[in-house]
């Protein structure tokens, strides 16, 4: 009895504390989704069931253009970030340990550690000077910024996948007359596939969700869905925001579920 392993679930009050934590985490989200179906104008008072706010959001041109912009940026940024992350992961795992390897890891994962607001201000100043010099005002700045901070999110699952891969498979391919390119194309890439897709999805979700950096980098009229919603806060809040949030939430849950299915060990 006394020698039993430490087990947190046996601590007094474990169950109530767990329930409170879960309630604090999920109750606000449940309420947010619930009020998106409310008939009234208040975001905190439930007045009858309706899909009115979903219709309103769907027909709102500002929401439409912000959504399109968000998807364009997220898609472009996740593709670029995943491509860079795949190369970075191959470069850091498929070779013998080298001097400065830890430094490279830190450099790649820098966006995870540097406060986002610092990156945002730095990018604002940096891009401002480019804007002045070139006159270019397009979405390119946002795509570049998103690509950069999405790289570590795409990198981590790809690297995990590569590290779990038997190196002798590539040796075997070379032994069986495959050139280095054929080995990559026919063995490494297919086995890496789930990791790459998982990384891309994670990057997509992270980009879709970003507020701080987007807010600083965007030019006038370049609202993404999150920055549009934040703008709405300053005006009258209606359950339309709840409806948009609920759709965003549904999309994120869908992608993250797919992510976990892909990164499961027993695939």
């Amino acid at each position: 009895m006394a020698d039993r392993n430490f087990n947190a679930t046996r601590l007094p009050g474990f169950t109530p504390i767990a329930l409170i934590v879960f309630a604090l985490l999920y109750l606000p989200i449940v309420l947010l989704v619930a009020y998106s179906f409310s008939g009234g104008y208040s975001v905190s008072l439930f007045e009858g069931l309706t899909l009115e706010w979903y219709r309103k959001a769907w027909e709102n041109e500002a929401v439409q253009s912000a959504t399109l912009r968000s998807l364009t940026i997220a898609l472009s940024a996740s593709v670029i970030a995943t491509f860079c992350a795949t190369l970075a992961a191959l470069g850091t795992t498929r070779r013998k340990a080298f001097r400065g390897q830890t430094f490279i890891y830190v450099m790649i994962n820098q966006p995870l550690m540097v406060p986002e607001i610092v990156t945002a201000v730095a990018l604002l100043i940096f891009f401002a000077s480019i804007k002045v010099a070139t006159g270019y005002q397009g979405l390119g700045y946002l795509i570049a910024a998103h690509s950069a901070f999405c790289i570590p999110f795409a990198y981590l699952p790809i690297r995990a996948r590569l590290e779990g891969m038997d190196l002798s498979l590539e040796t075997a391919a070379a032994d069986l007359y495959a050139t280095p390119w054929q080995t990559f194309r026919r063995v490494t890439l297919p086995l890496l596939g789930p990791g790459i897709i998982a990384g891309a999805m994670l990057a997509f979700v992270i980009s879709l969700d970003d507020v701080v950096i987007t807010e600083f980098v965007k030019s006038g009229g370049q609202d993404t869905l999150p920055t549009y919603m934040m703008g709405q806060l300053r005006r009258v809040m209606t359950p339309e925001v709840n409806a948009i949030s609920s759709v965003l939430l549904a999309l994120t849950v869908l992608l993250l579920t797919a992510f976990f299915l892909l990164t499961r060990k027993n695939d």
């Binding site: 391919a173 069986l176 007359y177």
Partner: protein
Amino acid sequence: MAQTIAVEARNAVKEFGSGASAVRALDDVSISIREGEFFTLLGPSGCGKTTLLRLIAGFEMPSAGKILLNGQDITYLPPNRRPVNTVFQSYALFPHLTVAQNIGFGLEMQGRPASEVKATAARMLALVKMEAFANRKIGQLSGGQQQRVALARALAPAPKVLLLDEPLSALDLKLRKEMQIELKRLQLETGITFVFVTHDQEEALTMSDRVGVMSAGKLHQVGSPKDIYTRPVNRFVASFIGETNFLPASKVPGGVQLGCGAVVEVAGLTGTGTTTLTVRPEQVRLATQGEAGAIPATVRNLVYFGTDTHCYLSLSDGAEVIARLQSPSNGDVGLETGQTVALRLVQGAAQVLAD
């Protein structure tokens, strides 16, 4: 020489690391492997046998020396350009491909037409008796089945030399015995030169045409299984392969004199000085007292092994000798602990070691 040499290593040296921390995995090894033979590299783990195999496969480049295939220098040729295939210890089968696709991989990479790839894969499947599994994924196979697929995959491109890196070590004893017979059959049927790496001396003795014994990066002896068992060149080879007795001795005309004073005849011995005499336990027999060449000894311990009984003896100078006596029908060799007996060494069985 009539026999053609398939693979040759000339003064191969392989060092890992550099400077003071460098480890010499292979220390000036020269070896010639004949075409069509089953050659085994035998030694304890870390002796350099796998390193030598990897140099032949092209996965490593030697620090010095040369690797030749059919007389051509292939030392720095990348693995995909060597007509040599490997069966890996971990099998290294491609998990995203079917059994048939795994077997066809090498031929496909060589750019052979699809019809030929398919036909050869089917032939290889039949050769290893895995026809029923052609469309299975690797994860659905047992260890023994994976082993067969790995063999078929390596044999499919008809390599000049097949390298096998301890391929049987992951199998249980019964399956291992089965695969030993299977490997020998495949080698005879295909006529391909096999270079087999193992630390299992029994495996080496039963399967090989010739064996190379290695330790600490050095090649000690190359010879037929009978050669290396009956005529070991040094203490390492004698003790690594089978059980043996070592007796300190000094050279005298016509033979050597043991510590207890007995003289053992050894042919062709020259010079003087101390040396070591080795004799296998099954070559030690009981003698009748007073018989010529009989050595008095005391029985220390008897251990019954079924077919034979191991008799631990000590000579008058304290040297220990193990005799393996065949058990009679009633199982009793008729000896007792503490009893004084006479023993003799079978004529010509005792060897003098170089060190």
